[in-house]
């Protein structure tokens, strides 16, 4: 054990910026008068922008810190940028929505910053203790945010998320303990050496499986998805949007890093389990979405289904030839998913009314006539979710299915395309309502919401034409 050096803090800099900024903001906010709380939001945005700018300068650099407990590498920088951007989009979606829904509480934005910090720490962690710390740091603010509107179903949502999330954390802790028992370390690199030299593998396997359960909760993989529809529906929509992207990204990057660096030796046992998880998630998520009439529940099931697609990338993680491209495919799809996710929730927010009104599919009838731009944006997002050109989702799925085939899992790829076909049915129902039914919807016009929705729609289309840079970023986002 060496004492922390100054250099160690550089490794954690993006996370430190956000956490320190969030702590300061909590204090500063006390001195901001109630009628000028916009300043708090602006400051929160500023913090995210600074950290984002810093992270962008870190592309291509790598360092380790705190006795190998954290690392800053291509992978974590990629995740950090994505998470910070998610934070910004989350705030853009929240700002008008919160004042409209009467959730004008300035700690909302501080909590969001803390959560983003936790997610970033998750991406940088190379020690199971840090993983756990990060998991809690990202989750606890989310529990609070889910219940922040103090409405009945929001409280239900918060409590449900908290209880099941705590349960999931328990799995992670227990798994960590077993792994420590088996290998004598919580450091991923040490675990890797211990595991590949073949020490007491049963304990290790059980430990890894428990970790998988814990992460499975976070990313909402079947059969650990039960909480998702209720929580997504009950939470304020802007929080749902943030949760659906941020928590999923964090869960997946942790899963990728922990399993690919610590447990390649266990892939013989775990690959089948991951295969089944991925297949089940795609099938159950998509089939359950078919019968939904509430848009928040529909998107909740769609989010579950997409966890299945991303998991697909991860199935061949033990095959050292395929694993790097497979993980790159997963990262690429995470970007596609995050962008599309925020855009589609943006449209939902634009149409949502107080008291949970405006959230049925039938409320979208006639949208195209009255708000053509909104309808076009939503159509783009739906096509992206289906995996249809010209959208990012299509390129992402192309990448995912390719890596599944290259990894030797044609069955999984077939399940992937067939469930995409099934998903087309329910995504098209939204398009049908918007374009082919008569109705008189009323949408809110909020500048930041409109900006975020338009930006994500444009990105979804434009990046699909020039995806090269994203491919390169994803394929160079490797572990150090």
């Amino acid at each position: 054990m060496t004492q922390p050096q100054f250099i160690d803090f550089y490794t954690l800099m993006p996370f430190l910026i956000i956490s320190v900024w969030a702590c300061l903001l909590l204090l500063v906010d006390l001195f901001i008068p109630n009628d000028r709380k916009g300043i708090t939001v602006a400051l929160a945005v500023l913090g995210l922008v600074i950290a984002l700018g810093y992270s962008v300068t870190q592309v291509g650099l790598a360092s380790r810190g705190f006795n190998n407990m954290v690392v800053l590498d291509g992978f974590s920088t990629f995740a950090n940028i994505l998470l910070l951007a998610s934070g910004l989009l989350g705030i853009a979606l929240s700002y008008g929505y919160n004042s409209r829904m009467g959730i004008n509480r300035s700690e909302y934005y501080t909590l969001m910053l803390f959560s983003v910090g936790g997610m970033m720490l998750m991406a940088q962690a190379t020690d199971l203790i840090i993983v756990f710390l990060a998991l809690e740091l990202l989750s606890i603010p989310l529990y609070v945010l889910a219940a922040i509107s103090r409405k009945r179903d929001a409280e239900e949502s918060g409590v449900k998320y908290f209880l099941l999330g705590a349960f999931a954390s328990g799995f992670v802790v227990y798994g960590t303990a077993l792994i420590f028992g088996a290998t004598g370390s919580t450091n991923l690199a040490d675990i890797f050496y211990a595991a590949s030299s073949g020490t007491s593998s049963l304990l290790l396997t059980i430990g890894a499986a428990l970790l998988l359960v814990g992460f499975g909760f976070k990313v909402a993989a079947v059969p650990f998805h039960m909480w998702t529809p209720d929580v997504y529906q009950g939470a304020p929509t802007a929080v749902t949007a943030f949760m659906a992207a941020g928590a999923k990204i964090a869960g997946f990057v942790a899963l990728f890093r922990v399993f690919a660096t610590a447990f390649p030796a266990l892939s013989a046992d775990l690959t089948d389990i991951l295969w089944a998880l991925s297949a089940l998630t795609m099938i159950v998520g998509n089939l359950s979405a078919l019968s939904q009439t509430n848009i928040k529940r529909l998107f909740a099931y769609s989010a579950i289904a997409h966890a299945g697609y991303i998991l697909m990338a991860f199935v061949p993680y033990g095959n050292s030839e395929v694993a790097p491209t497979a993980i790159a495919a997963g990262l690429f799809y995470l970007v596609a998913y995050a962008v599309t996710n925020f855009g589609s929730w943006g449209v939902v927010i634009a149409l949502e009314k107080a008291e949970g009104k405006g959230l049925e599919l039938s409320d979208y009838a006639g949208l195209a006539k009255k708000y053509p731009a909104l309808a076009i944006a939503m159509t783009i997002f739906m096509l992206s979710f289906i995996g249809f050109p010209p959208t990012l989702g299509m390129v992402g799925k192309f990448y995912l299915f390719r890596s599944a085939l290259a990894g030797g899992f044609p069955g999984l790829a077939i399940i992937g395309v067939v469930t995409s076909l099934i998903s087309a049915y329910y995504y098209l129902r939204i398009v049908v309502n918007m374009y082919m039914k008569e109705g008189d919807p009323v949408a809110e016009r909020e500048p930041w919401l409109g900006f975020a929705t338009a930006l994500t729609a444009v990105l979804t289309v434009v990046v699909s034409f020039v995806p090269q840079f994203l491919f390169l970023l994803a394929s160079t986002a490797i572990f150090k």
Binding site: T325, P372, P389, P390, F398, L405, V417, Q468, F471, L472
Partner: protein
């Protein structure tokens, strides 16, 4: 930016310019919107003529190539690659030719959301042209899937009473086929390390010879591509989306659907299934011939039973495209050349029939055969044009349909790949049956005593715009029917090249 000035890039993406203009127009200025769309599609047709003038028909290879690296990361050799050859040039021309005609036909038929309609229509043209020109599988797949989107909206928004059902069915059916093709494309991409079709054609024979891709896998790949294309064609028994889509689609949509979109399926067989999987194609030829023959007879029989004119023509498409498939999988020069020409023919004659039926429907709002009768006396011009189109569709000598079907049957009779003259023999019955159902419709609608519809409507004959819409098609029907040589000359070298690569 140099790639923007390539002739084929211009041809493919020219309609986008019109879309951009339309986006900034007030949706109330309907006439102006129509003119913008019309002019755009005419200019696109002009570009296609320019491309055609540069096309060298005696060269069997890909020409006018526009090839630029697009996504170049490990294992992803994806190019932006457009090129044209004798197999595709006629279909490209057909697309550019039918689009302005279809737009002209909507002049008074589409009054609702004209701007959206024209935007979708021009986007559809981009997709269709791209499908015929793309020489990179990734690019092809993008164009192929993209065509679904505007067509889905065209049917779903401007269609008939069951439009939503028809649109969703169309979308899901077609997507079901293409997802299997997607997996096959990815598999080929992994094995050959490229998505570039010409390069793939160079690398695949080795992979087959060394057993890296076994005969069984080759057959699987062939079937995966077949799934996508057979649904699009549509081949019996995968045709059930077609009548719904056709009947519900607005006239212009039907014209493009029958004229071009279905040809994407047959073209796919020609461009991908036969050259990429030659052994599987030869093995499968008798089976395809069988299904094609069933389709020919089935389509004709079902057509005869229809009471709706549009549905009748829709089912006749199943029959006609059966001929195309039969000729193509004869895998000899006559069969394939006849098949390509018949693709064009079907576009012309069925396009004309849909246009004409649309024109009368606009006046009466019914397509029931039984309510018409004795129209010839009231609307002689309409009757004449309908008669020519009908005769063209049923394959009367002197008109285009005859040339195509005759060549196809000639090819199929002597085909080694199909192995039996029976398929051609039975299919020939389809020609007779076509005469029966087409003439039955013509007789019921135009001859005999006046039907009830004439009592309720002041039927007007076609106006100048409507005549102008159909006349170009009629000219080509006669041209191909009387002097098909220039058309065969364009096809022949490319067809010969295609077949010479087959291990027959």
């Amino acid at each position: 930016m140099e790639f923007l000035l390539q002739p084929l890039t211009l041809l493919t993406f020219f309609p986008i310019l019109g879309v951009l203009v339309l986006l900034f127009m007030n949706s109330e200025q309907k006439t102006a919107i129509r003119w913008v769309a019309m002019v755009t599609s005419l200019l696109t047709f002009g570009v296609s003529l320019w491309v055609f003038s540069m096309f060298n028909a005696s060269n069997p290879d890909l020409q006018l190539e526009a090839k630029y690296p697009w996504i170049q990361v490990a294992g992803w050799n994806i190019y932006y690659y457009l090129a044209v050859d004798g197999l595709s040039i006629l279909l490209v021309m057909l697309t550019a030719f039918l689009t302005p005609i279809s737009i002209l036909s909507t002049w008074t038929a589409v009054e609702d959301r004209v701007k959206d309609f024209m935007i979708f229509f021009l986007l559809l043209e981009v997709g269709m042209t791209g499908v015929f020109l793309a020489q990179d599988l990734f690019l092809f797949y993008i164009f192929w899937e993209f065509t679904l989107v505007p067509m889905y909206f065209l049917i779903g928004i401007w269609g008939g009473p069951r439009r939503v059902y028809a649109a969703v069915k169309f979308f899901l059916y077609t997507m079901a086929g293409s997802i299997l093709m997607l997996l096959a494309i990815l598999y080929l991409g992994i094995k050959t390390d490229t998505f570039n079709i010409p390069t793939m054609l160079v690398r695949l024979p080795d992979l087959y010879a060394t057993g890296t891709i076994t005969a069984g896998v080759q057959m699987f790949l062939f079937l995966a591509f077949t799934a996508a294309f057979a649904i699009k064609v549509p081949m019996w028994p995968l045709h059930s989306w077609l009548p719904d889509a056709h009947v519900e689609a607005p006239t212009a949509g039907s014209v493009i659907l029958a004229g071009v979109l279905l040809k994407m399926g047959t073209y796919g067989f020609l461009r991908f299934n036969i050259p990429l999987f030659p052994n599987a194609a030869i093995q499968a030829a008798p089976w395809i011939a069988l299904f094609a023959t069933i389709g020919i007879i089935y389509g004709a029989a079902v057509s005869f039973a229809q009471s709706d004119m549009k549905k009748l023509v829709a089912y006749s498409s199943v029959s006609h495209l059966g001929f195309v498939m039969l000729g193509m999988f004869a895998l000899n020069a006559e069969g394939v050349a006849g098949a390509i020409l018949q693709m064009v023919n079907h576009g012309l004659s069925t396009g004309a029939l849909f246009l004409l039926i649309g024109m009368i429907y606009e006046q009466t709002h019914t397509r029931e055969i039984k309510v018409y009768g004795g129209l010839w006396k009231i609307t002689p011009i309409f009757g004449t044009l309908m008669l020519i189109s009908s005769l063209s569709s049923m394959g009367l000598p002197g008109l285009n349909g005859f040339v195509g079907e005759f060549t196809i049957l000639l090819g199929a009779f002597g085909s080694e790949a199909i192995g039996s003259p029976w398929y051609a023999g039975i299919s020939a019955l389809g020609v007779i049956m076509a005469a029966v159902y087409i003439l039955y419709m013509f007789q019921k609608v135009f001859l005999g005593p006046a039907g009830e519809i004439t009592h309720h409507h002041e039927l007007k004959d076609l106006n100048w715009r409507e005549i102008a819409t159909v006349i170009p098609l009629i000219i080509f029907m006669f041209w191909i029917g009387l002097y098909p040589k220039p058309f065969f000359d364009i096809l022949a070298p490319a067809v010969e090249k295609l077949l010479s690569a087959l291990p027959l």
